[in-house]
Symmetry: C2
Subunit: 288 residues, 2 copies
């Protein structure tokens, strides 16, 4: 029994016409006629009654229909399984990541993933998560690390929570206090950090109503940290970024805590390749 022919049988049943089924399947009408005849010979009875307005199932054909559907369905499952396995042998996953993740977590993940799936190519692009969301929407990446802040058309998997912490100059009196209050922030000079963190901090100030005394706005988090060290003011950065910044810094928890939720997302309602599935699962597991 040839499964391809069974598929043709099903299509013919659906369309009630050899000609139409053949056209839709890239065969000639003649071929399909021969093929169905072959099936009928193999089974030993007629499947269709032919007429000038098409074909319709015989009673015997009707009886066979569920069995053939079933056989086709199960062979499809096998084929599907094969393509999953194959997809893990030779895939390519395009990943969007924002800088702190790219610096602090991705290198280890990529190394381990490569060991497990040596033939899956990983293609990492780094930008802010605003941009990563665009990439996801435009199908420029297969999956991306984003914050839960504005997840829209994505399947989001939570990986970790990341606190915002204040960075304070060395030997500053405020270090004696337990947490940094809103009033303290407003009293001190504030250095607005780079683009990505900027976004989180903007949200933070907006939601708490804190109005910082902005002295500087710099283009990246490292610069902001360096300026704090020079005593030019304080700044606020996600904890994860601090891991990436070498050197020791004085951090202080915020009295009004702020947490960003970091996760990985693929486009919702879009087919996800086996390789990408495997990568996402791998990332999920590595954050457990």
């Amino acid at each position: 029994m040839n499964i391809e022919y069974c598929r043709l049988f099903l299509k013919t049943v659906k369309l009630g016409s050899f000609t139409a089924a053949a056209d839709q399947s890239g065969y000639t009408q003649s071929a399909l006629s021969h093929i169905i005849s072959g099936l009928e010979k193999e089974f030993g009875f007629a499947l269709f009654t032919r007429s000038k307005s098409g074909v319709s199932l015989t009673q015997d054909g009707e009886r066979m229909l569920p069995f053939i559907r079933d056989a086709v369905a199960h062979s499809d499952i096998a084929l599907q399984a094969a393509s999953e396995i194959k997809g893990l042998k030779s895939g390519k996953v395009r990943i969007g990541a924002f800088s702190s993740i790219a610096i602090c977590r991705l290198p280890a993940i990529i190394r381990e993933f490569n060991a497990a799936y040596p033939n899956i190519e990983l293609d990492v692009r780094v930008d802010t998560y605003r941009v990563i969301e665009e990439w996801l929407a435009n199908d420029e990446v297969d999956c991306g690390f984003i914050s839960d802040a504005s997840l829209k058309e994505t399947d989001f998997i939570l990986l970790m929570e990341d606190r915002l912490l204040a960075l304070v100059p060395d030997e500053h009196p405020i270090l004696a206090s337990d947490k940094l209050t809103a009033e303290c922030i407003e009293k001190m000079d504030f250095i607005v950090p780079g683009e990505g963190s900027n976004y989180d901090i903007g949200r933070y100030f907006k939601s708490t109503g804190i109005k910082p005394k902005v002295r500087f706005a710099v283009s990246d988090d490292y610069a902001a940290a360096a300026m704090v060290k020079q005593g030019l003011g304080i700044t606020i950065l996600p904890e994860l970024i601090l891991e990436a910044i070498s050197g020791s810094f004085n951090t202080l928890e915020l009295e009004r805590e702020c947490i960003r939720k970091i996760g990985i997302a693929a486009r919702r309602n879009a087919p996800v390749s086996p390789a990408c599935k495997a990568f996402i699962e791998f990332v999920r597991a590595s954050f457990e």
Copy 2:
């Protein structure tokens, strides 16, 4: 995906050898080698690791195994369904029947069955059910009508119960009585009927301990009936046979009732053709 090739894959898994699997399946080793390579190309990964002592599944092949088994199993079911349907279009059923059934019931059954399954040939052989059981055992018939008396290696389906009745001459004083007692039987001349019924009556006398005064033993039931009519004695016959004997007879129930159970049987543990199955089911339904 070619189901035949999947079957070959399974056989190869079972035997752990291309050569052996090819031999058992009527292919050359080379053909199987090409075929498995083809499957591997289709799936996109290796199924077997080859060695000089045979082949063994790769990890991926192992993963595919259950899916392929499943696909093959379901296509087998479809093929099986087809052969059932086909079997009902062109079968032959060899039937063993004993005379009373063959005369009183079979003609109507055969006529109706033929209308329903015009292409199934029925081949009826008539003898006593002792012989029919032999035919069943020797596979000389596909199914047979037998009594439950000595059903051994058969699948027995009960169809009807058949009483033994006494046949008494016209105007005999015993007719006034309600039932025929054991003493009455022993007082009167007894005519032993033909071979088939003989067997039932022998059992009856044995089990009840009645010792009849045997005057005659005749070769068939019709003769026994005729002799009763001539006033030569009484006899005992199954009710079903009386239907077959033309003319009116005086019957009397036995005080010690005897019932034979008539059914149809096929050999147990032997494959039963679809046509035979259909016939047995048809008979069962027509006795309901």
